[in-house]
Chain length 198, copies 4
């Protein structure tokens, strides 16, 4: 009975599969990606693949239960290299990979520089493929949040910046655990994990 | 064990709870809302509440597993009456209702009139509350889709317009069945329900 | 005195310079682009360049007073080939070409398919370069408008679809005439040109 | 001859008319608005009105050549009180006030909290009315910009935060000077005013 699929995956130790897929030129978004991957590993049993668009293939997207998609903010939206991945490699998978979980992250040149708009565009790409996308109500520090994805100016340096990236990956792994594997104990509302600095 | 919660809800006949929440002045969005609700009922065992923002309360949002949020496109974005509901009634629930499913619909004055932007703004509101939001790769007719929510010019009249609204409600009920109740047989990729006109 | 620059350009017959810059794979957006260019020519004295991203260079963008930017809607946003133009060719011009006028157009696979979101992303790119961007309150037919750019499903066929493209180019040439050349008689509010079907 | 209208306004000392229109509950956006107004006054001859939505009327919007629109980020987008102003008071002016200049600002609860999305929604409202909207390539400090409007977390305190607000108002007044009054000497590319910290 399909309803027990999640439970079976749990017993077999083959659980949530997370892909952190990014493009990076300066290295800033790559550093964010590594932290996002680190955060996903906070949820026990999660398998994580960290891939640049140059390394990744269609099979990585098909494989995952959830994806964190990261691009630098270039001219206010997604870098062409990231878009190329979806325009060129993914069309054959369109309409065949619905229902995966998805979220976004972006490094911008400065605060107010368009990273929120870039995250929204990344989410739009994911929605186009039928993914369920989300942001986080969580605050990782005073006046520091990731409501529509993790956004930074430059690279992650301060603790709150690192935590924003990690929290994104953590939440992705949590939602995969809850929605795909039926692990209700991982639900952020009841797991007891810290969500707010207050 | 929490993983069987969905199965238990299934056996007890208390399954997916869907809220169709809308504001309408001309009546166009209200007609869309009725069709969205009708579509949600396509999935067996789904309980549907159809409410205007004047009728609905916090308890309706708390009650639901999934929400379809509808507003006319007014000046390119959400009507103030819909926004008022979330700004005034919902703040106390913020951070306490994460993980529900969400989608959007909007009636605009004309094609090209901003209904996609309005759906995106409605999804942003839902994401702010930690909801998992989605659009549909499905086409309901030649050159007619609802990739980022159901959008119309005026009221639903043509068959494809009615079906766009219903398909939105149907998919919402499907994702609730899959993600909340663990009913894998309802997954749009394997349920056998028609998704494309070709 | 610089305030007379527009008047001088007028007397010398060297007036509004419009660039219609597009990418097209199927040919749909190319057909839209041709109509946009045609519309720009409605304003006397306007010089129009129609260029694909493969043909265009930095000098075309630098040359123009106003730009109409067109891309197919691919996976809900700008095609990578269009983004590549701005990411690769244009960075050296960033911060040096502020104040040009800009607008957008897009062909999508179906109504509700993301063309409004694509126009918004194109406008974001233009805003990043300091351009003044706009949409049109105009309706070109009953329930057919281009509030945030000209959007179609497929290619322009119906009269209202052709007119949406042309009206976009026309308005661009009008705003260039008004804002750059000081030709107040071209202002859409007082020019007497038809804006609404009623 | 209409082309000299700007020059005449200049000679008569009746130049750029700027409206800073805001809603504020906590006071943060009101403080931003005051700085935006201050920045607009940097351009000689500019007349500035600073109004909350409760104080402002249709006549203020009709009066202005350019508008800076400010709202707190509430649930990821424009506060209902600001939207109400446009939905309730402004519809009769729709289609009659095209071509004014417009920009946006927003105070959010934390960085990454949706202020860019709110600015974009405010710009969408302005575009719906036919306004020419813009952001600023300028950086006001290292890693601090206002590419799509001025965004802050909380109230303006640091020098860069105050300057972001003022620069927005300044640029609005500059574009009004250039586009409406034909004062080419005020063009940001040639005025000699500082745009970047480097």
């Amino acid at each position: 009975m399909l309803v027990f699929a999640g439970a079976l995956r749990h017993l077999m130790g083959t659980m949530g599969k997370i892909l952190v897929l990014y493009f990076s030129k300066s290295g800033n978004t790559a550093k964010m990606a590594a932290e996002v991957a680190e955060g996903a590993r906070r949820i026990e049993g999660t398998e994580v693949r960290l891939r640049s668009v140059a390394e990744a293939g269609v099979e990585d997207v098909q494989w995952c239960d959830g994806i964190a998609l990261g691009s630098p903010t270039n001219m206010g939206t997604v870098a062409w290299e990231m878009k190329q991945f979806w325009d060129v490699k993914m069309p054959d998978s369109w309409g065949k990979i619905d229902g995966k979980l998805g979220c976004a992250f972006s490094s911008q040149g400065g605060w107010g520089g368009g990273a929120e708009l870039t995250c929204q565009a990344l989410q739009t790409i994911l929605m186009n493929f039928g993914f369920l996308v989300f942001g986080l109500p969580d605050y990782v520090a005073h006046q520091f949040t990731l409501h529509y994805g993790a956004t930074l100016a430059g690279e992650p340096r301060e603790e709150r910046e690192v935590e924003a990236c990690r929290r994104l990956g953590q939440r992705l792994a949590e939602w995969v655990a809850v929605c795909v594997d039926g692990r209700r104990d991982q639900h952020p509302l009841t797991s007891g994990r810290k969500r707010f600095p207050w």
